[in-house]
Symmetry: C2
Subunit: 470 residues, 2 copies
Amino acid sequence: MNAPAFAQNLRRAIPAGFLDTLKMRFGSRFSTAHAVCEHHGRDESPYPPMLPDAVVFALTTEEVAWVARHCNQHKVPLIPYGVGSSLEGHLLAIQGGISLDLSGMNKVVAVHAEDFTATVQAGVTRKQLNDEIRDTGLFFPIDPGADASLGGMAATRASGTNAVRYGTMRENVMSLKVVTADGRIIETANRARKSSAGYDLTRIFVGSEGTLGIITEVTIRLYPQPEAISAAICNFSTLDTAVQSVIEIIQMGVPVARVEFMDTAAVKATNAYSKLDLKESPLLLFEFHGSPAGVKEQAEIVQGITHDNGGMDFQWAEQPEDRSRLWTARHNAYFAGLQLRPGCRASTTDVCVPISRLAECVSETAAELDQASFPYTIVGHVGDGNFHVLMLLDSDSPQEWEESEQLNHRLVQRAIDMDGTCTGEHGVGLHKMEFMTAEHGRDALDLMASLKKAFDPNDILNPGKIIPLA
Amino acid sequence: MNAPAFAQNLRRAIPAGFLDTLKMRFGSRFSTAHAVCEHHGRDESPYPPMLPDAVVFALTTEEVAWVARHCNQHKVPLIPYGVGSSLEGHLLAIQGGISLDLSGMNKVVAVHAEDFTATVQAGVTRKQLNDEIRDTGLFFPIDPGADASLGGMAATRASGTNAVRYGTMRENVMSLKVVTADGRIIETANRARKSSAGYDLTRIFVGSEGTLGIITEVTIRLYPQPEAISAAICNFSTLDTAVQSVIEIIQMGVPVARVEFMDTAAVKATNAYSKLDLKESPLLLFEFHGSPAGVKEQAEIVQGITHDNGGMDFQWAEQPEDRSRLWTARHNAYFAGLQLRPGCRASTTDVCVPISRLAECVSETAAELDQASFPYTIVGHVGDGNFHVLMLLDSDSPQEWEESEQLNHRLVQRAIDMDGTCTGEHGVGLHKMEFMTAEHGRDALDLMASLKKAFDPNDILNPGKIIPLA
């Protein structure tokens, strides 16, 4: 479970006096303490920490620009840090350098309720935002599970349980304030709902994982809190029939807000971890948003489709506290899974395929995993064709790590062969880099590399991520 | 009404033998005939034609790649051409070179009805696509009025009347096949509904107006044909109350499919041109999509809001032929407007502002235009905050042209001051280039220029557009 070979022995030398200058500028908001560096050199990926040389806690865009200029001048790596919830090694300082902690930039800058937009500093988390805007009657739907920062979510092109209805960060970021590699401050767009005025800088930075610029403010779209919400669960005797139901629901055009899948192992783990008594078989969790009549209409169609596919025990969770308990349990499926094998280290997959291929992709994957020497769970944002395998590995077993990597390789190849992607929402980081050529082809990757070179000629911004090194 | 000064006297020399090589390769699908070059050196902009040196009619992506390699090697401009319906001078060969006509690439390559996607060659037009997929129960909603090619719509980041509900080309292009400046062929993405696998090449090419690569295939999202559709019109005594109604409808979160505004002059022109008898006062046109119950619910809310704002004569158009007549008339508003001043040349504006500023922006603009020495109409995709002024100018009057340019300048500045954009959907072409610095700032524009340089180092792809020349 070491870092990939290409990420080893790459640390850059820090020029003499470089850190002293940062120390003078930032005082107590600068640290080289081991504990601080270790905290900033890890994420939720299966890799061990790789530490930055120092951490700077920035409070303003101008401070970020100052640090970028300083790093760029001396060719020192600079890695933006939100809350550390990334899953693929995005934050690991494989070349050393400075971790730039933006969690102190946590102000909601503006809420334009009449336009359904808000502008927040990069360190604002999604829960904080929704708490602060609750009185407006609006909410921000993108929900990757973790209480991630909006800056990090934009940088990772995150999505999660609500994406089937509301889209991902790609669709919901309207504009960004970005610090470039050489320390200039730009706004990528304005608050017009649409624009054809030149290249789409916003979408260039969304999903760029800190490699093209440092996001310091995010303007996002908000949505009216639904007049009515209801949730439901439905069990199935097989994985196939559960997934088939989802395909039919999406193909009917039902604007379901959430439709999540959990396999039997994930349900068992969740029952144990969240003290629930869900029936332990493949499960779908639904949420419907709309007018009372609209929600009723959606739910009836869904109930019909699941019934026709052998769904059992369609149960409603109409009270907010019941819904909340259910979704909290779903969000904790990752941690619940970890408890299936105490002390284990987890590796997660993240493929996404066209919905027509989803049942086939999940089934073939489960059949292979049933032969594995470690336990696993499958959960998924199946309305988007996106699912995760959580593989629970013995931390001390290189064999299990190797086996899990091979299974993931085959899964990714399966997804690519089905016209899908190696990562639906986690991002590339380190762990998905090896699939970039297979997914995009050499020529498309060359274009990406030329973009990186144009925006960051000294390769200081989160270096060694996304694009495989030559 | 000449081309902007920066676009004059820029023609590049064509190397000896260059055209002969194209002629040998393409035979009768190569032309230097004046009529053919003139047809390909103009669009619907107010500028006179600027002719390419030759036109090539390509039939395959490989042919496009061959032409790109040939042009790149000899640094000859290459301008992709769809149907010629752009409005801002996108297609004008200000530096001469080759116009690459893709209208013969008009095959629907694949329809994946179960995934709600289709892949089409760049020359397929939106009406052709909708005709060919009608039996699937799906449709492609983006409707800019003109029967544009899908390649051109992607290149312009087009939208139109349905964008308030279904989004623009930005949201609805899933993947592109693109020929790079040096003649390589790439796919920008796959058919997964979402992906976090690296830089968003798709969104880089959407809206790039042929300056970064040549789009030869487009994979787009399709939508279920609505179970129920109804349309309605409503008159107002003032522009303000009409626009205020739209703001309230959007703020209520009503998922209206279309909401279009026409001022009194536009209604009069439309009555004359399309032989209708609409009441001649500010008008809103609505369309609702959904289940029968959903459509009814939306319409009731909208009827209530318009009534509260003094809307009069709310009238339904429930029959398909009535709806069709209404929307055809709306789409012909441009041509209807031209007839208000026979023989005139039109100049159109295209600002888009946050919806909260829309009424103010439209009112201030109308007040200024009322003092102008030429007639005008205002129509708009007001649900998005986007509206167009059609200024009807004496073709022989430099004064009127100058006056219209000044009015547009003030309008754009007003929109930018309201956190809006100089172009909601037309694109930059030549006519909006002068606003790019004011809208984006010098540093953001520098980033765009570095992207252009990275993707097209010899500046052969539609050169001199979007980014102001240094």
